[in-house]
Amino acid sequence: MTRLPRQPGEVIDRSVPLRFTWNGKATTGFSGDTIASALAASDTRIFARSMKYHRPRGLLTADYWDPNGFVQVGDDPNVRSGHRLLEAGMEVSAQNVWPSLDFDIKAANGLVGRFLTAGFYYKTFMKPAKLWPTYEKVLARFAPGGTIDLDSPHRYHDKRYAHPDVVVAGGGPAGMAAAIAAASVGASVMLVEHNHHLGGALLWGTDVDRATGARLAAECMTSENIEVLLDSTVTGRYEDNWVAIVQRSHPIAVERLIKARAKSLVVAPGLIERPYVFAGNDKPGVMLSGAVRRLVNMYAVQPGSRAVVFTANDDGDQTARDLERVGIEVACTVDARRGENIVAAEGSTKSVESVVLGDGSSIDADLLITAVGWTAPTSLLNLAGDRPAYDPAAARFFSSRLPDNILVTGGLAGDGSLDELIEHGSATGNLAARRALVVAATLQKLTTRAAPLAGDPGEVPADDRAPLGRNPHPELHRSSTHGIVDYSEDVSSKDLFAAAKEGYDSVELIKRFTTATMGPAQGKLETVNTVAVLAEARGETIADVGTTVWRPPYAPITLGALGGRIFEPVRVSTVQSWHEAHNATPILAGQWIRPEHYGDPVGEVRNVRSGVGIIDVTPLGKLDLQGPDVPKLLNLLYTNKWVQLPIGGVRYGVMCAEDGVVMDDGVTARLGEQHYLMTTTSSGAGGVWEWAENWLQTAHPDWRVHVTPVTTAYTSINVAGPKSRELVSRLTDIDLDPQAFAYMQVRTGTVAGIDKCVMWRIGFTGELSYELHVPSGFGLHVWDTLMDVGADLGVAPFGLEAQRVMRLEKGHFIVGQDTDGLTKMPSVGMNGLIKLDKDDFSGKVELGLALDHTASLALPRLVAIQTTDPNIVPEEASQIVRAGTNEILGRITSSRMSPTLERSICLGQVLPEAAEPDTILTVVMTTGERITAKVMQHHAHFDPEGDRLRV
């Protein structure tokens, strides 16, 4: 093919040549060319090889949907060459060819094609079974598609939300008219056009077509109410008109996803021309009329030198006129409306050389053009629950039922002159806008924060449009010969017949069995012919067979665009900058970034046990509780009793879900007459808040309790160790005398000059400790001050790891680590905290049943465990088995080497039979080695009486 003289409708800029490479060879095109048009203009005839038989393939539709037009561009696989605009320096190569496009070894498959019927692989490669993996590797070699470059950088993608009144999908004449009409009644409109120019089929039409298109396009581009999105596609229409739009050309991002809540959606994608099934229909040189008209009129490319035109409609006729206009010989026009037909394209595998007609005659030609009708791309309508119905008179599907917020115009709605299409588009846009304005008013009325609506939203306007007509069109799907139905999947009509005869005779089964319509075009070209061939095989009509369901997206969308800028919030405490400056090793705990340790967790433990350490425990969940009914709420949430907690007191509690499973634990302090501060686990903070609100809002709306999360209102610092009292006393006005401020008490006062600090004496580490809750804006100041004034005491920070070791030394369980999704409260050894004499609490019924003797016997128990060999630390999750067997009796839930005891210590869950103190357990190490260990008397390995806490 070569470039024609300047064409009146050409979109290329001949003054801007662009150099690129095709399979490594330097080639040139023009600005405005697609990759395909540039290649075609430089005499490229073979673009790809087919998936299964590796037959040479040339352009078929020369647009986005061309099944033969896939190329690799740099590190971008599966680029639609009929759509992607040429850029200077592009490295374009053919895909799915080995060793080269022109000489392809796998094409040998073509010779044995008769044996490789659809689904052949289900019937073979079964024996010997050992060889299947080898067969599988061979099959995988035939995987179509381009190549992913695993070194390719992650590019910047973007997303935005939008709330337009009307989204118009499709910028052809009807779509443009709809957008203009909607905008003119005050609606905000997004006009989304798949291609690079507004105009649709007008772009390759007559002078009048192009002039009309240009006028409408100019109006759209200049309207204040219309946002025109070119090279963009409405890829999906989800519930309540949640419309996904992918914007492929955007200055700041490779692709941008727009999520639009459209009040009305106008669907006007036009029609997609359908191939014809006959022998040789995939030879290079067989093209659809649209491809030829695009190439000739938009890109001034000569698609061949001598053509046969098989036409059933005006588009085919116009194609013949276009060819004649540019001087390409039309050897023969075969008119389906006169009952004429074509039966085969003959020639080499690389090109059409002649065309066999229905009467048996043969005509030499290197170009065979078919114009046999259209597929209605009803994808967006399907997503709204539509089931398109087939109209045999018009030879295509039409929508049958749609919600009010979707309107169809253009070719999807019917046929008509250009004026009639524009008029229908206009009426559709007007109706869409009027309906949208009702929805907008309804939304405004229902939305509390919105401006008050003057008047009533009104009724949804009825559909008052004059419908488009439907032109009669012959039903042309398959000639008397067999040919390719699905080009991407290499499925022929013969395959479909065979599959139907074998029993895969419903549209979904045949699709699954043959993979027809499963390729990159997702049936845009293939579905109707597949259905037609199946109908033929079943001796039924297309309407009987029905169609397959189109699934989103309408056009493929990159993972990058869908992922967008990835929002992954992270949370840090006020002291984080200090931690970073002091080489803390970070650990991610949910959204929080926390210090795991500062280089020497063992040293950190020893420092706390012997002197004083400070840890940033800000992520600890904190809830401010106020009101006269707080004790009622606490009684309901915790299993123990809360009515008599004095002001200044702190109490520990466990929360269970209604099934009795432990869900959280923590301490709650009473700060004032009606004022409490609750702590939760770090990961449980959000859940406990919602849990409390759920009880208050749904079960006890009469209770007067206000719950406010204050987790990060405070920077929380635990000062722990025998010298902690000395350290804290240097910077607070609170009386720390053990008589005045005992274990499990709370005080408020000033710390390091900061007022309104809350301080309580508790001891997760097992040491004398003060937990300071400091208003966050001063958290770093207090931390710095502690480090400064405690320097002589040897104060040092400690991280999460040291805290974990110390809590394990003390035998404190961690919810979610030492318990699991089925651990009921009696398993953790705190039956004393279950108060069944309370009127009600969450989990009461199940805990009552669990405490029943027989039931509780079956529950596993949490016990402290020490290995016989003190130097062996079994990994967490090591299993505990019955000696000499593989029967599981439990597992190690926590384990560490204790720097304090200088031996291995564990917590574990075991069945009751193995839970008695001094039971010798068999622990299976992850290496498989079996060791012994002993169940301990107390959960606490260290200081079981808690003397160190109470000093």
Binding site: W242, K259, G385, T448, R449, Q697, T698, A699, P701
Partner: protein, 113 residues
Amino acid sequence: MMLVPCPHCGPRNSTDLHYVGESHPRPSVNDVTAEEWRTYLYMRDNPAGLLTETWYCRSGCRQYFTAVRNTATNEFVNHPLPGNRAGAVDPSFHYVSESKTGSVQPTIEGAPS
């Protein structure tokens, strides 16, 4: 994305909310049998039709409310009420979801319609 009619905020994207599940009255914990309790805990109606359910407006007003939704069409059939009270089906409920205005029933493809 489904719009959920929050009784306080107005229509919100379903991802703004947390689905709590079917609403069932909690039995009195002091005179319930194990069987009744576990029926409450575990058994579900799971209808393909009207379902009374609890939502929590997590990114919005942070209120729990009780809605009645048709699980076959995802259509909400009344103004949800705060807390655990369920309202009756309200034919005049004027809402923006499309299922109100179209008669689109979900079906599995290939099934008799």
